[in-house]
């Protein structure tokens, strides 16, 4: 039998990375700053987007892309109510967004009329980390109710983030969450990450985060 070995050396996520690069070029051409918001379900991604809109719109013109595993478009509607141009993506059960899904959503947004695009990924601490969407900053929302050991358990997610928002700090008095232990894990994995402790309930810390983002969104626009 004639058998041969073929050297392939091809990155498995190359197809995704190429589409992500095209998305990145589209954002750049339109002068739009883009975020990919990731967290476990319920950590507060949609609440964060609502607070961010309240702090920055309409001075910063914001578009929103929501990924959900089903046709439920509640989060996109929450964004629309808060004043964002918004597009809902049904991933059809897929546990993360991929670059081609974002590309399709971008067709439905008028990028020339926007300064900032916020992508809300599917609630999941594992899968979204592996997929480049072509955004400028990956934002991980951790909430104090999830426990202080999450960086140690989900290192890939924490390693890849540019920004970490520690949410629900209004609940700290009721929990045994050790902030030092949590932040030590974060620093181990990602010494350069920008950290903002926030509460989407009380509004604490939202100002600092919003200023960080405003500077970037308006610089790009």
């Amino acid at each position: 039998m004639s058998v041969k070995v073929i050297s392939v050396l091809e990155n498995i996520l190359q197809a995704n990375d190429q589409v992500a690069a095209a998305n990145r070029a589209r954002f750049a051409a339109a002068g739009v700053y883009a975020l990919n918001i990731m967290s476990s379900p319920g950590a507060g991604k949609t609440s964060l987007i609502e607070q961010t809109l309240r702090a920055l719109a309409p001075q910063v013109r914001i578009g929103m892309i929501n990924g959900d595993t089903t046709a439920a478009s509640m989060d996109a509607e929450r964004g629309a109510r808060a004043g964002a141009a918004s597009v809902h993506i049904n991933t059809g059960g897929n546990c993360h967004l991929e670059a081609h899904m974002v590309r399709q959503a971008l067709d439905a947004l008028d990028l020339s009329a926007l300064d900032l695009v916020i992508v809300e990924n599917v609630g999941n601490l594992v899968c979204p980390a592996g997929w480049d969407l072509g955004v400028h900053a990956r934002v991980v929302v951790a909430s104090v109710t999830e426990g202080d050991d999450k960086p140690y358990k989900y290192p890939t997610m924490y390693r890849g983030a540019e920004v970490l928002l520690l949410n629900k700090i209004d609940l700290l008095p009721y929990l045994d969450f050790n902030t030092d232990y949590f932040l030590q894990g974060v620093r181990l994995l990602n010494p350069a990450v920008q950290v903002f402790p926030i509460s989407c309930r009380s509004g604490e810390g939202i100002g600092a985060w919003a200023e960080w983002l405003r500077a970037r969104a308006l610089k790009h626009g």
């Binding site: 070995v5 392939v8 996520l13 197809a15 897929n94 991929e98 899968c127 592996g130 997929w131 960086p151």
Partner: protein
């Protein structure tokens, strides 16, 4: 769940390379997966049988090569091989390290059977 789309990408890559080589069948696929990547061997294997059926890669054997996580220390210059991914430099304890290995995720090689053995022999 994301191993489903990952497995589709793997299938697309290996079938394309086998077609370019005019192969009849893919018998073995060698995947390199870094210890820091979140992809799970068993789940890829789980989807493989269903997805590959009816293709050039039907029945191909998947081989997983795991690459250990390694970091270089920006303080003392030592290289550490990590047992757990949330660790700093094993020599000096510094957290100021950069990842040099463990994030790989690619198809290294495939083994194929030639399309027409007589033709191959005639060429040889």
């Amino acid at each position: 769940m994301h191993e489903l789309s990952v497995t589709q990408h793997i299938l697309e890559i290996v079938v394309r390379h086998a077609q370019q080589a005019h192969a009849a069948r893919i018998t073995d696929i060698h995947l390199v997966i870094g210890q820091l990547s979140s992809f799970i061997d068993e789940s890829i294997q789980f989807y493989w049988d269903t997805l590959s059926s009816g293709t050039l890669a039907e029945g191909a054997h998947l081989h997983f090569e795991r690459v250990p996580a390694q970091v270089d220390c920006n303080e003392c210059g030592q290289r550490s091989t990590l047992a757990e991914s949330a660790q700093g430099c094993l020599a000096c304890g510094s957290l100021n390290v950069r990842v040099v290995a463990g994030e790989e995720f690619y198809v290294r090689a495939i083994q194929v059977q030639a399309a027409d053995e007589r033709e191959q022999e005639a060429e040889a």
